[in-house]
Symmetry: C2
Subunit: 474 residues, 2 copies
């Protein structure tokens, strides 16, 4: 498993350099011009080498519903998502493969799958995703998505008394399940990592968070959660805790330097100070935040406060793709409209650092991943600078981040193992995957979500929208 | 030139239908199931047919600088752009081809090239672009970018007296040039249309606008211009006219139902009413508006006021690509954060209509282009629904617009002539184009713009930014 990439362009301080890169025993062993060839020689001419990026938040099985949910805010979108969620572990396997393929071919070598569990088939769901990620060879961080409150509890009451169904699984049973998941599947050496990942304050009790903290401490697991994605959740936190969600999570001990929090759109300056103090990571999902109308996360403020930031695609039903370079571009340029001083804007090189090192840090792996550094694991992506979308030759990183790279990934190695060559995934049969996805689906747009019709009037009322006949346009 | 597309999916009222489409003599002649095959039979199975989109605002020669200009607002970005603009017509030819290839492969069959002219080689510049568009076979609308004031005049004075250089070409000479351009190149039947296109109120005198109106009326040309892209331009209009730019343009007679205006970010509600009254078109360029920190154009307000909207990529140095589907996606979902009522959000089918019919209307061609209608010109795009990025099968238009389509365009016809087949451009040698773009450029990031260094301190002062040492980060 040794190889040497020759004559490849890499970024160095404000410039580029042409070097050779030696990879031995899964790790980067040397980066210098004119190295001796160890193992296989790889021609790096007219190619750019970067550390692999991290798709730091997604839900793989949403792939089955991408493109179909009408433009609606999160709370209504979720109702429709859950009414039509896939129920077969084999579907989870296929969508995990699809998510991994798109992540890889847009520069990602790691992904965080906040995995929706099929009720009654929870372990099978996780086993299916693990199988997919092991087969394709992407570095996987799987956070089984757990909650102990039912969907309607995620919408503020707004002073209206409501009844809620009991959630289908008890807190205790959920924590027992998580322990079994960790014991069966957590295997960092093999590239499979389990995270504790309660879905968020909107649908989880303190007891569930506390059980997750205990598991995280006992097994040294990273922690993940959604946080304040929508204005509705900000309202809900006030109703539920009488303080901000950040203050509450800090009090119960969920925040830490290995906690990553998806979205963080509706934080106050005081909340940002808490994040900085606790050294937790914000995972920015710009596309889903726009698609669902959630808002613009104050990413420039996070960076100025010293909060670590990573990029995620979020699930494919709210994005509706898994192209990490698209999320990176939008997560970079979107913030230029939030601060008139362009000295604060994110530069393409900073975007690369957020996508790689920022992602690694959020997973407590900044010592091992996220940069082209001797001694780090070889999670590497080689981009073809003769691709039309990276021409003419200007600033390769500028064009990779700000352009629309298409068919630009030439080769990928994860943990030193080659997964992509000449733009093709080596480890699975992508044509067969396409065929499976085709056969197991059908074009159809006229589905009706019964949960949506149950909750829409209350949602409109509590969010101050006009009480017109609830009608989702299409 | 007759052909029949068989068994192809097309959108019909809130659903899809599988039909045959007959194209005879450049036009759509029938759309029905089970038609007789006229001319060549084209297999449309598992494919989606849509009208070609319009890339309603771009500057093709910016391709030479894509990816390289640091994150800066328009006024400073322009200084750098102009310091390094290409000076050879052959470069213009190549970047016009590149712009056309990327537009085609993302669903566009028409483009509006607001073409930067090489000083002293104005006619050669236009001839080069015309040659490129004729060769590749895209429907071209070329608006030679003209002005009669120099760059520094585009930044508000803010009460500070400044001297400006005289612009390199007089108003009169510019209008004479435009007349020659129209007489030589305007040829709608051949798919080449000349627009009058003064760059905008920030760099043009009333005399230039008035001369353009006269040409537009005499030769029946559409009118194009930038309008209120930045807050600085809004300030400038007040300094220059003592009223809004819209009021002024209405007064001098530039607004009409064949006037399209790029950007329109900083309009008041009163300005929007003027646009609606004059039936002018807004060309929305969401990516460059974000990249340059210009702001979010109030597109939902335009739609509610009945103003026609089209989508553009804008030039590749402020985007930094020419992927029209990316611009459509962002120009659709971006506005969800500007209105809490999701009933106002743009649906994927509405996005398709904006991109096709909206674009055609802005070019005064809604009777001939922009929809799948019997009698219209055959500017058609066939998407491969077995592409991984359009799987699994859900709502094809939802996924095309909200996803990240990659390698999805199968075939394109412009005016009934096939330009793309099986994803490959038939009319030019794209590999040779890549090679030319490669050879005529070099990786380089350490260029210094002297104009930028001259104007940055004034810009910061007049825009109320802290007077820190002017320093563009990289």
């Amino acid at each position: 498993m040794s190889f040497t990439i020759q004559n490849v362009l890499i970024p160095v301080e404000q410039s580029y350099s042409t070097v050779d890169v030696q990879i031995i025993d899964h790790h980067i062993r040397a980066i210098e011009p004119n190295l001796e060839v160890v193992g296989t020689a790889v021609n790096g001419e007219n190619k750019l080498l970067l550390p692999g990026f991290v798709n730091a938040h997604t839900h793989s099985s949403e792939m089955w519903q991408r493109g179909i949910i009408p433009p609606t805010p999160l709370e209504l979108w979720l109702a429709e998502l859950y009414d039509f969620a896939p129920l077969e572990p084999e579907q989870v396997y296929l969508s995990a493969l699809g998510t991994a393929v798109e992540t890889l071919l847009s520069g990602g070598t790691s992904l965080v799958d906040h995995l929706v569990l099929i009720p009654g088939k929870e372990l099978e769901t996780i086993a299916a995703a693990v199988r997919a990620y092991q087969e394709i060879g992407i570095r996987a961080f799987i956070g089984p998505l757990i909650q102990d409150e039912s969907l309607t509890q995620g919408i503020p009451n707004g002073g209206i008394e409501r009844e809620h169904e009991t959630y289908l699984r008890s807190t205790e049973a959920t924590l027992e399940l998580m322990q079994e998941v960790v014991e069966r599947f957590h295997n960092p050496e093999a590239g499979v990592n389990i995270l504790v990942a309660p879905t968020g304050i909107q649908l989880c009790s303190d007891a569930l968070f506390e059980g997750c903290i205990e598991l995280s401490d006992r097994y040294n697991l990273c922690r993940h959660s959604h946080l304040l994605e929508t204005k509705a959740q900000q309202k809900l936190a006030q109703e539920k805790y009488g303080c901000s969600a950040l203050e509450h999570l800090k009090r119960i001990g969920y925040l830490s330097d290995r906690t990553s929090l998806a979205h963080c759109v509706w934080l106050s300056d005081a909340d940002i100070a808490i994040l900085a103090e606790m050294r937790s990571t914000v995972v920015h999902n710009p596309l889903s935040n726009l698609r669902l109308g959630s808002g613009i996360a104050p990413i420039l403020k996070y960076r100025q406060a010293g909060v670590n930031v990573a990029f995620g695609c979020d699930g494919a039903a709210s994005n509706d793709s898994q192209d990490l370079l698209e999320a990176i571009k939008m997560g970079s340029i979107l913030h230029n409209i939030t601060d008139t001083d362009y000295h604060h804007w994110i530069t393409p090189r900073q975007s690369v650092e957020i996508a790689s090192l920022g992602g690694a840090q959020g997973l407590n792996m900044a010592d091992e991943l996220g940069s082209l550094s001797v001694g780090k694991k070889a999670d590497l992506v080689l981009y073809n600078l003769k691709s039309l979308s990276l021409l003419p030759r200007t600033d390769p990183i500028g064009l990779l981040i700000l352009g629309r790279p298409t068919n630009t990934v030439d080769s990928i190695w994860v943990n030193g193992k080659q997964v992509v060559a000449e733009g093709n995934v080596l480890t699975i049969d992508v044509d067969a995957l396409r065929q499976e996805l085709f056969e197991r689906s059908q074009w159809s747009i006229n589905r009706q979500s019964h949960t949506l019709s149950e909750i829409e009037a209350h949602y409109r009322s509590v969010m101050g929208l006009s009480p017109q006949t609830p009608k989702i346009h299409s």
